[in-house]
Amino acid sequence: MVVSERRLSLPNNPITGIVLAIPGYFAGVWLGTLFGLDDDQNTGIILGYLFATAAFLIGIGFLNYPLERLFGWQVTPVTDPAENTGIGRFFRLSLDHKVIGIQYLVTILIMLLFGGIGAMLIRTSLLVPDSTITPPGNYISLIGLHAVMMIFITSAVIVGPFGNYLVPLMIGARRMAFPRLEALSFWVVPPAAVILAAATFWGGFPTGWTGYPPLSVQAGQGMDSYIVGFALIAVALVTSGINMLATIIGLRAPGMTWTRLPMFVWGIFTTSILGLLAAPVLAAALIMLAMDRTVNTSFFLASNGGSNYLWENLFWFFGHPEVYIFILPAFGIIMEIVPHFARKPLWGYRTGVVGLFGVALLSWFVWQHHLFVSGIAPVLRPFYMLSTELISIPTGIIFLVVLGTLWRARVWFTVPMLFCMGFLFNFLIGGISGVYLSDVPTDVTLHGSYFSMAHFHYTIMGGEIFALMAAAYYWLPKMTGKMLSPTIGRIHFWWMFIAFNSTFFPLFIVGLLNMPRRVAAYNPDLVGLNRWVTISAYFLFGSMLVFAGNLIYSWFFVARPAVANPWHARSLEWQVPTPVPAANFDRVPVIVAGPYEYGIPNARPVADLGGIVGATGGG
């Protein structure tokens, strides 16, 4: 390719992006102010965030390809191919799913640090039963920032790093179906996090992650961060969802039949369906909320003919599938990892897939269990009670499949396996406590209390984050080429497991004893339990530092290189060399067996990596 004389290009990297984003923000504010609406500049701030994000994405280089195709301009700098192997590729727009996976991983770990610090500040404030440590305004801002940051993280923490990196490898593809969409689904996440953090400059927002109007309509300019940041995460969910579905449906290698698909890929598949269909509802609700705040519509204001129930329904219609967006990939991880270390075939593969789809399907029919005490028409309450309790059937199937796989197994107790066991224990408690909340009479007492807070931390942190840790110890050797220290890993597991339960189990009791969520001041009788929880939470944070230490230790200090298949696993991603070659597979692999056929006499290797003679590959 010849470099044209009149190159338009700027260097495409995040610095250019930030340099463009700043004038973008002020252009948006100026334009919004031009409309002259007396709305405390909310129009300008929302437009500013949107313009800044668009400018950032242009600076990263998202406009280059369309401009090249439309006008024939040579805008992409011609790069030295060597640059695509150095550390610099992680700081640029990359269309390599492996680079995007690592970008996602590092970004989300940094966000997790901030979310975790938020949790520590919250717990510190609760050392005393009044607002002396943290003023109530700051406390409520902290609650909102911690909650929304964690929702951003948990929406993508498995699908982003591990889904993007592993799905093509596990199905025998060389790339994702839509690499640019894949890159977009990553590059909107850092702006979303920054915009959310920007809420602190406006004094935060007072609504928690649920954003209930009229409070969210009255709230200050921090609320605009919630709207735009959350909308960007909706964009990430939709783009990633459609991309994963297209990839899994369209780019499977020859012989990768639906019954040979690894369970992790099934987890991503079902979660992608939910993300694709649920996130647009969130986006629509956020646009309506933004209009209520800026151009004085009244979708959610009862005083002008609207209804806050509209928001509550739209939000939870998204919000309940959203929590299964968190957990379905975690189910996939558990069912993926356990057979490899049990050294047994997955017990009831098809049943497990049915379980995943059952959870995904039922998740659309339960959202009003969040509204049992809201005063909404009671006719459907029995239905929502039943549909919510029905979810325990497909969830129970997942447990059955895992327990059946462990039955008479030869379990190899590695660190990932420990985290899988921890997941089973924690998610069991999370699931059972969910039944308490689904039952209308008991929900009257438990709704909005620390009981429900403990419930969803058990499912999300005890479930999804424990599965994430299992995935990290299991797959990071393939992704980074370095083994994590198993000794530190074991310390990490036991520390985290004990600290987690010590933190969150007392909160069930705190909730039963009359402590509502999101309060800076509480009944002084509960100060003992709350202090116990806070101390435990510090230890829990410490366990995350152990994990971070393990990452740093094994990446930078003791570079113990990982072999191609350290776990002697059958599945396809372990059959490619470490580090994974740029094209993943020399030729398109031909899949000849399932991934879990341990102990089956004369089982064939999972794939013929020599490929079809004459096949061109390239998905």
């Binding site: 305004g137 806050n308 009671p378 029995p382 447990f399 007492t445 909005g448 039963l512 001041a521």
Partner: protein, 265 residues
């Protein structure tokens, strides 16, 4: 049944697990039934909720013990003992076991749902019923309960939430407004919960009452106190700066005569 033929290798494990499970479940169920579950028995509705909590816990205990026991048992007895990797027996699944598992969980779930719906349908039902479009400050006596038959016996109390306190309006007593909620014992009460600014949630813990206060909506909750004593009121829906302090611990259930004296003041 032939389909349920138990393999020789499975039998010792199954026998052990069954014995452990029965013993631990019996102990566990007896233990959790000793607990006094909130919101205790100050109202008929609260007592129902306490009973339901006890029932759920008694049902959850054997399930919890079964799964934890299986996980721990696998960790102890199905651990690899050889230094080198060995594959386990290639079991691909067992249809009767899967069907039985699904059937048992379905039975438990349906039982829970039936119990829950029965509690809902009973006269003591504790549920919020919203009615749109009720303006605040309308003639106090005419709150329009929608239950004309029982209107004579049910005392009407409007709970008005605003940032950051609750006001109580006794419609049957000429619209007296107070800042603490007093209720006479043994008399059904119809609470009308509403808000004049944003969403709050009226949570009277010991009464077993929680209902959202929505602007422009009349949210109805029936409750019958059956024991005298004090109770706490809190807001249970995040409502801005002083949400945590939107609480009152001076609610009282008193005798009818004491109530009459108090309301006359």
């Amino acid at each position: 049944m032939g389909a349920f033929r138990i393999e020789e290798a499975d039998r010792p494990h199954l026998v052990r697990l069954l014995v452990i499970w029965i013993v631990l479940s019996a102990i566990g169920v007896l233990a959790v039934l000793q607990i006094h579950y909130p919101p205790y028995d100050q109202t008929v509705q609260g007592q129902d909720q306490s009973r339901t909590l006890a029932l759920l816990t008694a049902l959850a205990t054997p399930v919890f013990i079964a799964v934890v026991m299986m996980v721990l048992y696998s960790a102890v007895f199905f651990r690899r003992t050889t230094p080198e990797l060995v594959d386990g027996p290639p079991m691909l699944g067992n249809t009767p076991v899967q069907i039985a598992w699904v059937a048992i969980s379905a039975i438990v779930v349906l039982f829970l749902a039936v119990v829950g719906i029965a509690t809902l349908a009973s006269s003591n039902v504790a549920q919020a019923v919203g009615q749109p479009g009720r303006a605040i400050g309308q003639a106090g006596g005419q709150t329009g309960s929608g239950t004309p038959g029982g209107a004579g016996s049910e005392m009407q109390v409007q709970v008005i939430a605003q940032q950051w306190y609750f006001t109580y309006r006794y419609a049957d007593y000429g619209g007296v407004e107070t800042t603490h909620l007093y209720l006479p014992v043994d008399r059904p009460v119809e609470l009308h919960i509403t808000s004049i600014d944003i969403i709050h949630s009226f949570w009277a813990y010991q009464l077993g009452v929680k209902a959202d206060a929505n602007p422009g909506v009349d949210n109805i909750f029936h409750v019958t106190p059956q024991k005298t004593g004090s109770f706490q009121v809190r807001c249970a829906e995040l409502c801005g700066l002083w949400h945590g302090n939107m609480a009152d611990s001076e609610g009282q259930v008193v005798s009818q005569s004491a109530f009459d004296i108090w309301i006359a003041q």
